[in-house]
Symmetry: C2
Subunit: 480 residues, 2 copies
């Protein structure tokens, strides 16, 4: 059910944090006491006191929605997070485990004892296990699988074969079906027997005698038509359906486009194999776009806000290292022109201007292209027109900013030729930056890589080197 | 209704584009002919031919879902887009107008004649008009308002007072209510009279005698309980509800957290004033995160893929100009050290390395902080711990990369002191970059600005200047 506790969205996390922090502080105080007086007669008293706060914490957590607890855990440092986590009931912990972000889930699982983890996993069904299967240690997963039925095991097995960016990975096996030839009354009777529908069940999937999907019957349709009507007569036949290997981002686009709440997933023969729901699609959209932001900045993967320093350092170091290598290349290009710089030292001060602004304009193009790729608006057909447009923009902005920088250089160094050289370099760098900003993500995509990951770093490296080469090269030719 | 035409999501845009392009080519060919032979006797024949292709195009568009047409328009250059747009029926055009992105909507409205636009607007209700009101020219809006009822005008008036990032802006007035004391049978009878429920109507809003919201009744609940049961007995009382001035991103978080499809919006007294649905929330999430990506790259606002060059150039030029100003500052800092550079020209080649990698590490921090702000996981409480963590990461990565760059400098220039100076500069720059990357978005937020817009540009400017100052300064002190 979607209805939960009364909820004013604003400030809730801050409020929860404050309350919980107070309890945690008490708890920690007690723990310190217990720790200090470990061998004294105060033991029993302390442990009682300890227990009392524990009870208070437990009861407060019990009243909180699991999604709110998940938020709380995300915002808490590791030791506090651990304390809260240990105070959750198994069932609640299971819900929370599904809700937190990937890195926090990893952290929680790693810090939980095998037996406790198994108890938590026993509160999750095959669908849920499939969703977090990658984070569960192999031996514990095997142990948990033992209590699955064969159908559940089959489902899990097949779910695990789908890559993370496909519909198959996101789909759920919880769905309600109905036969074409039934009446709405029979359908409703069937529903009453099930008693509780799965989440986001806005429609039933209609099967023919062979078990193939022939349409969908919305709950609305059941409510709005006469009970005697037959399913086949009131169902919708034109159904947005997906296959397990369809790309998740295309499915997400379709959910937005057709305003779906749930949709059937079928195999090649049209047999119903799963259900895709809007909550997972929404989560996918959120993660997919925010992954882009993170990857663009040269961060490998989503980070736990409080992951250990070394872990985060590694996660970010990879692209910094690549950045360093490309910076060496730029440095060697500058090195080629040492003589020129020795004769006109102003070049040393001016060259980063060309590199910086040039890199920025290329980055603007890259970001828009990456976005276009994600939304699917860039096609083989409009590609060249787009490049032409980007070149036009660069020519225009390059000329305007080039003139500014040229006038600045002239005014500062009283050297007309220097002004002209930097202005022209600016225009040329802008044009190259646009071409590169346009090509880099499309090339990355072509070779099967994520167009966002590292685009910016690669691009900045290329534009920097180019900018230095153009500017210092022109200076060598025209100013010496 | 959510069910639409059969749809295999992959390749559909490419496919649509190819088909439409063919028709457009024919159409254009004919138009050229007509144009060339304007005064000849071929006129009538040509115009017939013209009409025939028009008919074909029109019939094909008629079969397409409006969301697919919207996608098509986004991906088409302006002249083709115009041709398609003119071939749409008013009702279809109205749906498409709601579906396209902001910049494309602007473009379409601008290119439509007043009378035609008015006809299209007449197919939209007050809810829809409220959603696009900013893009409609004032006189046309006034004209359209004339045919509104007083209730509709009131609704529009109040909807227009809500800022774009609030729940009030996103909410719809289409909702179905039911009284507490009714039976489920009466509720169902009521539904049958309405005949068609609004989109994403997974629940009815339950009002008491004073018209205050007391709970919600899901369609499921109606189906699963006996018809004689009273609404008040089966409704859910703990309801996630919003107020019109709640922030849209907090509402979006709540929709994700509590897996909502729709939720009531109430005023301070608990009176029901609107309904928020998952489709608009999903669109908001998509736009909000992708706006971050775009703003981070120094692009003011979302761009139409085919907006005129001058328009786009302006949109991106603002931040390039700011970037240029900040680059002037870096240049002047380098200028201070001209003497040092003249004595050790290697500094000119090495200094961009420190600037580039330092800028990148700061950017990584900034992006994660912006994300944390958006998700609400950064609180007054955990802020300092986060800064400490970021400093730790910078110290670690700065040391590792600093050693590398130091060894490179030593190996390349056979100068130990130079190697040490650049290694230490790297570490210091990293530490400052982390502090700045942490502070810039939080400061922007504090002064009430969007933390994403321009963060990167400001940050790169600051780190560049700092890197040059630290590196050249240290070189001046220790190497001369």
């Amino acid at each position: 059910m979607t209805e939960t506790k009364e909820k004013k969205p604003s400030d809730s996390l801050d409020h929860n944090l404050a309350q919980i922090k107070e309890l945690l502080d008490k708890q920690r105080l007690v723990e310190n006491l217990v720790h200090q007086q470990h061998q004294t007669h105060g033991d029993i008293v302390e442990s009682l006191l300890h227990r009392q706060h524990s009870v208070e914490l437990r009861s407060r957590l019990k009243k909180m929605h699991f999604a709110d607890i998940a938020d709380l855990l995300e915002a808490l440092p590791l030791d506090d997070r651990q304390l809260i986590w240990q105070h959750l009931s198994d069932a609640k912990a299971a819900d929370v485990l599904l809700e937190v972000s990937d890195p926090v889930r990893e952290n929680l699982i790693k810090s939980t004892e095998e037996k406790a983890l198994l108890a938590i996993l026993h509160c999750l069904d095959a669908d849920d296990i499939a969703y977090i299967t990658e984070d569960i240690p192999q031996d514990i997963l095997t142990e948990r699988l033992k209590s699955f039925t064969i159908t559940e095991k089959d489902w899990l097995q097949s779910a695990m074969t789908y890559p993370e960016d496909t519909v198959g990975y996101l789909m759920s096996k919880e769905m309600v079906t109905v036969r074409e030839h039934h009446t709405l009354e029979q359908a409703q009777f069937h529903l009453r027997q099930i008693k509780e529908l799965p989440i986001h069940n806005d429609k039933l999937f209609v099967l023919d005698k062979r078990g193939l999907l022939t349409g969908v019957l919305s709950l609305q349709a059941i409510l709005l038509h006469e009970p005697e009507a037959r399913v086949v007569d009131v169902m919708a036949r034109d159904v947005v359906r997906f296959q397990a290997l369809d790309k998740a981002n295309e499915a997400a686009n379709a959910f937005e486009r057709y305003d779906l709440v749930s949709a059937p997933v079928v195999n090649e023969r049209g047999k119903l194999i799963g259900r895709l729901t809007v909550d997972l699609v929404m989560e996918f959209i959120r993660e997919d776009t925010s992954e882009d932001v993170i990857n663009l900045a040269g961060i490998q993967e989503e980070e736990d806000l409080f992951s250990p320093v070394v872990h985060s350092a590694k996660n970010r170091g990879v692209w910094l290292f690549i950045n360093l290598l490309t910076a060496f290349v730029s440095a060697s290009i500058i090195g080629l022109f040492e003589n020129t710089i020795l004769q006109i030292v102003a070049l040393a001060a001016l060259m980063p201007i060309v590199g910086s602004v040039g890199g920025n304009t290329g980055n603007q193009t890259t970001v828009l292209i990456i976005r276009g790729i994600a939304l699917g608006t860039i096609t083989a057909d409009n590609r060249w027109r787009l490049l032409k447009k980007e070149l036009g923009i660069s020519l225009l902005n390059g000329t305007v900013l080039g003139l500014m920088v040229g006038i600045f250089a002239y005014a500062f160094y009283q050297n007309v030729e220097l002004g002209v050289v930097i202005a022209v370099s600016m225009v040329l760098t802008f044009m190259f930056a646009a071409t590169l900003g346009f090509s880099v993500p499309l090339l990355l995509k072509k070779v099967g890589r994520d167009p966002a990951l590292g685009s910016s770093v690669l691009l900045t490296a290329l534009t920097d080197s180019l900018a230095f080469f153009i500017f210092l090269g022109m200076a060598t030719v025209f100013l010496l």
